[in-house]
Structures are given as C-alpha cells and as structure tokens.
Symmetry: C2
Subunit: 407 residues, 2 copies
C-alpha cells in the first residue's frame, strides 16, 4: 500500500462528466489499496472568467482581493470532485488550502508555500477517506487568502507530497508524458520514459507547459518522485522525473527542444558603463514584482553600454513603464522593446560531456537564415531568442539536428 498524491489540471476537471471520470480513476487507485490525496485545479476557463469579472470592477485588480476571488475556482472543484468520489462508493472529504494550513508568504497572486500542516489529512486518510485538497491556494500567517500564480496547483501537489512523504506524486494532464518537443509542431516528437529534474526544470522554465517550474524545483529539493501522466487514457506509464541520470542507458546528448512564445525583450540603450548599472535597471523591475528571464549586457564602447533582458509578454508594458520612469535617473539614451520574439532551447544533461553542441545548434539555425538576437547558456541548456515568426521552423530544425525524431 502506497500513499499517492494525484494532481488533475483544469482540462481534466473541465466538466461534470470529466470530474466523474477523474473520480473513477481515483476510486481505482483506492481499490488497489492505496491512500490517495487529490489536488484539482479550477475547471478550465473558470480562473479566466473570475479574473475578467474582477477587471470589470478594477482594471488593475487589487492583488489581495483578486486572490479572494480567484481562490473560489478550485474551491468549487474540490466540492464537486469529493461528491463524485462518493458516488464511486469511496469516503471523501475536501479542504481548501487555508483549511489544511497551506502556509504561504504574503505575495498575493504569486505566493510561495512555506509549510503545510499534514495532521488533518493524515487523520482523514487513516479513517479511509480520499482527501481532496484545493490546489493553487493557501493563506499567509494572518489568515489572508493567497494564490500561488498560474500553474500553482502543480506546486500544491508536490508540496503536499513532500509534507506527507508520499510514495509518488502523479501529475495528470492532457498529454501522456513529456515529449522531446511539442508534437503539434513536430509530429515525429517522441515521449520520454524518464527525464532528470534538471532537464525538466529547464524544459518547464522554457515553456514546456507540462509542469509548472516551481513544482519541479520543489520536487527536486524534497526528493518527491514525480510522474506525468494523461488523464484521458488509461495506458502508459507517463514520464518519470528522476533525480539521477540513468547510467545504464545510452544517454542522448539532447533530451528535448523547448520553446516559449510568451516572451518580450527590453533593451536599455546607451547607459553609462559603470558598476551598479545592472542593479539600477533591474532593481526597480524587481520592486514592481516583474520576473526577469534572460539578461544580456554587451561589452561597452564610448563609455556606454546596452543592456537587454526578457520578461513575460504579459508584463511587457508594465516593464516598459518602469524603465521609462527610471530612464533619466540611470542616464540611458533610449528604451526599446520587442514583444514579437520567442525563445527556443536545446536541453540535455548529455551536453555536459559533449562539447560542440552550441556550434551545432547555431549552424543549423544559420542554414535556415534565422537570425539569433540573444544567446543564453547553462550547463545543460542553450537558449536563443529569435523573431517569433521563425519559431516552428527553428524547433523542427533543431529536433532533427539532434536526432530526436529517431526511435
């Protein structure tokens, strides 16, 4: 008998019928003798509906109040899912995040989980209940309702699995695992049986929407065994996300090609090339709670330099506004931005031991006439920013270049 935490995304619980299907699956795991904790998202479309309603009242909604509203999406789902599980003949109880003391910091709309009190859940499990816990939400130390930001339900599930020392955390989604790249762009994309946490982290951070990045960090940190599965088929083992590379297998150099359309680039032109300038530019951006992704500073000339970074496309205008407001203070000549860009990356732990991957990648893009605007590298990833119109072409070319379409 194992303790399993299962997370179901918005599409998997998008209608009463789909909720009933999830309940059937949960009941099967329960019938096998396992203890099951289920973490559902809001029904698909519901969070967007609630945010739109808030914006009708307040175009830039107050963050605290927005969380009060947004948290209701998951609250509806847990009640519905608990009832559906009862209909399958199991005992079930639902809890909101605040009810099981998912303690977070007070960064409304983007809160981070600090601690979870597992006592109540353990007691309910011991009494034979399936426990349904709302994802995406918690409460700060003053009891204010918080949400974890988009995709936060994955993080909720992994954090619960860590707190409960669960045997496995299963993330059910509308795909049956992690692929070498998006099959909608490259039909030859292959499902991976395993992927390392590091690779998954890079894939997730680069826009592979299978898992939310913080959940992968969390899982890696707390050694939670994480598996991605489809909620629409009963076949397959999905993709297991492992701590260690599999030493027994021939390790491919590159595991996958990730991409992210949701990026925008900002450049501060002609800033004085002096110490502290990066902080003067990015400090106000951080104060405005805007996440920065890539950061590039070119070598200066004439005593000035150009400074570029990328942000989530939804925060492009906000970031532009922040930069305009500090422009004269930092002595910049001009602020320019471009929100028609995308990022494409090759990811693989194999590149640690294989030099030349970067040049192979740049050559393949050059042969297709794709101009590279920015480059960023890590130990296991090479990312390039290019014009978004080349996205599909770049992904297909790189997928083929690194032999990912071979069985």
């Amino acid at each position: 008998m194992a303790l399993i935490v299962q997370k179901y995304g918005g599409t998997s619980v998008g209608s009463p019928d789909r909720i009933k299907n999830v309940a059937k699956r949960v009941a099967r795991w329960k019938a096998m003798g396992h203890d099951v904790v289920v973490v559902p998202s809001a029904m698909s479309g519901e969070t967007n509906r609630l945010i739109a309603l808030a914006k009708e009242i307040m175009p830039s909604p107050d963050a605290r109040e927005l969380d009060v509203i947004a948290a209701t999406g998951e609250q509806v789902t847990i009640g519905l899912l608990a009832m559906a599980i009862m209909q399958e003949g199991c005992k079930a109880k639902s809890y909101t995040g605040p009810q099981v003391r998912v303690l977070t910091d007070s960064t409304f709309t983007k809160a981070r989980i600090l601690q979870i009190d597992d006592e109540r859940i353990r007691q309910d499990l011991a009494e034979g209940n399936v426990v349904v816990v709302a994802g995406f939400q918690g409460a700060d130390e003053n009891g204010n309702i918080t949400t974890l930001g988009r995709g936060g339900s994955d993080t909720s599930a992994v954090a619960l699995a860590a707190a409960l020392k669960a045997d496995e955390c299963q993330i059910y989604t509308d795909v049956d695992g992690v692929y070498t790249t998006d099959p909608r762009i490259v039909p030859e994309a292959k499902k991976l049986d395993t992927i390392t946490f590091e690779e998954m982290l890079e894939m997730a951070s680069l826009g592979s929407k299978v898992l939310q990045i913080r959940s992968v960090e969390f899982a890696g940190k707390y050694k939670v065994k994480l598996r991605v599965l489809s909620s629409f088929t009963d076949e397959g083992e999905g993709t297991l996300i492992t701590v260690e590379e599999d030493k027994n297998m021939e390790q491919p150099i590159i595991s996958g090609i990730a991409f992210n359309r949701d990026e925008a680039k900002l450049t501060v032109l002609g800033v004085p090339d002096r110490p502290g300038i990066a902080y003067q530019i990015l400090g106000p951006i951080a104060d405005a709670n805007i996440d920065v992704d890539m950061i590039i500073q070119n070598v200066g000339h004439d005593g000035t330099t150009d400074f570029s970074f990328t942000v989530n496309r939804g925060e492009f205008n906000k970031a532009l506004g922040v930069l305009e407001s500090v422009k004269s203070h930092i002595g910049a000549r001009e602020i320019v931005g471009d929100n028609k860009i995308c990022k494409v990356s090759a990811v693989g732990v194999g590149m640690r031991s294989h030099p030349g991957v970067a040049s192979q990648m740049f050559r393949a893009l050059a042969e297709e006439g794709i101009n590279i605007q920015m480059i960023s590298t890590s130990e296991i990833k090479i990312s390039v920013v290019i014009d978004e119109k080349y996205l599909e072409l770049a992904v297909r070319v790189l997928h083929k270049t690194f032999g990912l379409d071979q069985a």
Copy 2:
C-alpha cells in the same frame, strides 16, 4: 460618527455595474464619517448555478461538500465589492465568514451562528477600512465551511451588528421598506414607517421575503436596530423595525397581510388517539431535518384521530416519504398530502387589545366563498390555509377589510 452594518442582497450586487453603485453608496456613508461594515450576498443567480452544478455530480448533494461549493458565491462578491469600494477612493478589505471566525454549529446547509470574533474587524475599522464580510457562511469548531441556508446573509449582517454593537443594521433590498402587503397583488398597499420585531417576525415567517426570519429573531434578541431600505433609490427612510410599539401613535389593529405560496400540507389519517402519537409522527420528520410550520390535530373519534401539518413545498416529497416509511409503525390508516395550498395571515400587535379580529377575518373570506382548510393563531397573528388559487383574492379582501388601503 456611527458604526453601520449594511447588507446588500443578490439583486443589489447582481452585476459589476450594480456592485459599483453599492460601492458609491458605501463611500457616501464613509464620507459622512461613519464606520461601515458591508455584508453582501452572492450575485443573483450564482447560488442556484452552483447548486445545479453540484446536482449534476450528485443528485442529492453531500451537505458538507455542497457548503464548500455554495460558499464561493459570496466569496466572489466580497472581493469584487472591496475593489469597487477602493475605486471610490476608500480603503477596503474583504473577509470570508471563516476568516473572521463566524463560528457556527455543524448543521451543514442550515448552520446557526454561535459566535463572532470582532477583533480583526474592529482593528481594520480603526485603520480606516471599510470591511466587507461574506454573508451566508461561517465555519464550525473544526474549521469546516458551513452555510446558513437561504437568506442567511441577513442573519450574518444582524449577527455582525450585534457582535460589533453597531448603531444600526441596514438591510438593502429591492423594495424600499416593509409594506402592508405585496404591492404586486394589492396596488394600494402602503409602506410602513415602523413595525415591531414581533410583527416583522410573523410577516417574515409567513413569506414576506423582505427579511429572513432568523435575522429578525437575532435582531430582537440582541436589540439590534434594524432598518429595511431600497438599494435602488436614494430616497426614503425605509422601514425601521422597533423593539417597542409606538405608544404615541394611533395603533392600527392589523399592520399587514402576509402570505406564503411555498407551503404543502400533509395529513396522517386514522392514527390511534393515544399519548405520544404527535411525537411518533413528527420525530422522524425532525430527524430528516424537515422544518414543520403549522400543526393541527383534530379531536378524535372511534379511538383514532387525524393529524395535519405543513412543510416547505420543496420538502413535500421528502416528508411524504418519511411518513410512508413510518405509517405501519404508527398504525395510521392513510397518508394524504396536498401541495396546492397557500397560507394567508393577518398580523398586528393591535389584535392583543381588540377581540373579534378572527371572526372579522373568517367572515370576509366566507363572503368570497373561500374555504378555510386549517387555522392557526398566535397572540399577534391569525393564519389560514386555503387553496392556492384563492391567494390573491384572499389577500385583497383582507387588506381592504382591515382598512390597510387607507392613508
């Protein structure tokens, strides 16, 4: 400077524009220097939508889980209303029932408020906030989410006013006060400037939908000054619900004619006329959590008697089922029911000192050929059950008979 609790019903917050109008009104009271606590209901239609969703999963929804789902309706409104109040330039903070520790018993879907912790609200008021508290909901001692049943937001508002020792509890609704009867049935109906708690209690329990009955009981018990007002006009003082009869005014004998279409009658025929039979019949009904309204037992003959009572029409089939299941145990000959009935009542503290009101009422109905099926009286009210097809006629006749259409 006063402390005012304002409650707004579902129609008053039924759309973003209406929520903005409520916020403007709240801001005006705040600008006058008052401390304001606002208790909104769910947006009109929302609670029904949520219950329908639950029934798609589980035709007789689990009560605990239904409350988890239903409580989200008010939670959305408090966030929206707090933001709308901010847009009017006031500080505002919203709280769910559990957050401000509206402690209730554990009777899910029909919970009763036991206690409210006013500390957090007082602190927020002291800091200049308008405090928005979700009506209709609370939590039991184990932190389970509970709801107070239909119309429970009125009770929430009055309970908050009592806990905060507010100077006035204002119930904003879609009518501008309490009328001598429903103006849709009798166009000559007059608005009452004052009405006593006892009268209001009878009017409310009889189906005058202006105020929820438990809220009136609560207000009477804790001496909360209660006022009913329209949220759609800025004119008028509404109707003040007073503890004492106004000794200075010529007291009319009857204050109003109330009615209730939402009733059903059940009769147990030919039960042995022995002690304890009423308990044997109504015990199982109470165990099934069905509220009983009127109870009539006729004088027995041949050692048997007939026993009648009325319930909410929505619980008619459930009550019928309960009676059928105990029929042989109690030795009854037959169970009959009728859900095409209504109750019409004359209410007034004046009837205490004026004999003959009952006979005046029965004569007026007899002259119109309306058969009386059941009669029930209290010190300040006479109710009759009649065929529902005579409802409008009976109300008009009684309104005229008691001179309520005179200025």
